[in-house]
Amino acid sequence: MSGLAEGTLLQVEHLSMRFGGLLAVDDVSFEARTGEITGVIGPNGAGKTTVFNCLTGFYKPTHGRLSLHREGEIYLLEQMEGHKIAQDARVARTFQNIRLFPRMSVLENLMVAQHNRLMVASGYTFLGLFGAPSYLRAEREALDLCRYWLDRIGLAEFADDQAGSLPYGDQRRLEIARAMCTRPVLLCLDEPAAGLNPRESAELSELLVAIRDGAGSDGQKIGVLLIEHDMSVVMRISDHVVVLDYGRKISDGSAEEVRGDPNVIRAYLGEEEDEELPPEVVADLTQHGGETRP
């Protein structure tokens, strides 16, 4: 493992996760950097979501170290409780199957994401109950951040609608906005483009690039970790791609490097080493990989 490079945000070292007899993640190491989108790809069951669940405290890793570097401090994620990871280390995530608060309004979803900040401002509810000015100010600021994100994802006019009544694509974007309302330094997205049509995928790509480059209202660049099956999205916007297969890392590098890596092609297309790839597969690969990043 090389020393700590400038801008390293997340360092995953020798991460392993065992469920009974199944080694879901096997000695995986990689880095994610501020201002970069790190794509995590791999065939179904490769262990991508398990890595995310370890990162965000839903699983305790069997082995390995997950360190997050923020403002000169190191947070060891594998030793922290789930909610502390979001609160202190400021790692936010979205879920493969959307997890909004369906019966609460769109705006309330974004307000819940600012819970900790508002709790402190409301003097753990006691000051807030009596309408202390400091709390009212904090609440106004929170609403401003909500409004900013609602404008950004184009849901401002639906602010009072039930989140569960939104169309699927809007729910996906709302979940990302909600994660961003926690003001994270690392945003982990689990298949954000799943179920989106090509136009929505393109919009999503733009949003993610903007988030990477500091679209959060405080303008700070952040790191994005992206699990995605939609290769057109991953290859276009990822600055750096990590490929997993059967829980092991089989490739790591820029989108171009990964695309040409024989290990990756083998993982995706099977073990037919001495045979030439069928021409339509080659065409498909070049087409998906052909687009260059913006």
Binding site: F58, F101, R140
Partner: protein, 436 residues
Amino acid sequence: MAEATLPGVREDSPLVALLKDAGIAAAIAFLLALPLMGFQTLDSGTTVELQYRFHWVAIATVGVFFGRIVFTLLYRRAGAARSKAPGIVGQGMARVGEGLGRFLVPAFILFALILPFLPFADRREIDLATYVLIYVMLGWGLNIVVGLAGLLDLGYVAFYAIGAYSYALLAKTFGFSFWLCLPLAGILAAFLGILLGFPVLRLRGDYLAIVTLGFGEIIRVILVNWQPVTGGPNGISGVPRPTFFGLPFTNDPAEGETAFHEFFNLDFASLHRFIFLYYVILALVLVTNAVTLRLRKMPIGRAWEALREDEIACRSLGINPTNTKLTAFAIGAMFGGFAGSFFATRQGFISPESFTFIESAVILAIVVLGGMGSQAGVVVATLFLVLLPELAREFAQFRMLIFGAAMVLIMVWRPQGLLAHRAPTVSLGPGSGGAR
């Protein structure tokens, strides 16, 4: 082609189908009514005689026949309206309710405030209103735990009992006044709420319900068996009555004390105490409501609701589920404790009999029937579940039957509860007023 019927399946005309359906229902009703209503045993001293009441069976059967027809017609119309606007069943009704609510709520509060001075209000009516308000308060307290935080609590009566016993014991042993005991009882109940909360934090839904059910029973069994302190099954009698800021409501005050009626130059009337008790519980209820409505708009209130919706998402947003659940338990328990101490001072006598599981069930039914999380729903459901059975005491024989049937009907028509409309706690007003 119009909608083709399947070959070989002969569609009855609507009228025939309706009559057939009603006939089947009537037949089932007849079969049930024959053994249930058709015979009555009469104990005539030495022998037991059987009396036949076939006219009852006939009434039930005919009633079900026509009732079924009416029900089907109504239901069909409701069904048609539903299919026109899927997913917003009851929204229209809720909106009507919202508009009405603007007038109804102040009218209701005004009515509650002047109730004791209305011409029909006598001792019995005021006492009944007090009784109903106790359940409104319990309903609102449990609403925080079940309706907002989504934690199914079947042992809520335990906190009610703790409130009642702590008032009784504190007031009898140390001579504390009601106004001092009230917060103490609330704190004690809240403390026990946290104590219960800790072991059940990981549980949800059915499992939580079982554990809380057990907790409620444990408290009751302790009350029955801890004879030296709680008086066991005999309970505690002679619980100090409330005083009007030190002025007792008695005809013959002790030496050196001035009674309420003497101080205000009134003739002694036992009604004064009832009116005072009524106002005390009314104030408690209004405070409970104000605090709950305010809490809903606080970050903690939104976190409760978020926790009800999705605990995993909450954790990923940095909300501490442990603390959030414990505060919900503690605050819900606190209101239960307040209601309990009021109950003790009103009754003057408490025993474990008053804190059985059926009480928990009724309070939970109030919350669920009213619509989870709905404050107005709790009031409506309390009127329905507590006031109506009290008023219908003459029909004591059929009380539980009517009660059960009404519950079934409501769950068929409005499975989300009577008033299930949920207004957002915050909105982006013009100029961003925020949560006010």
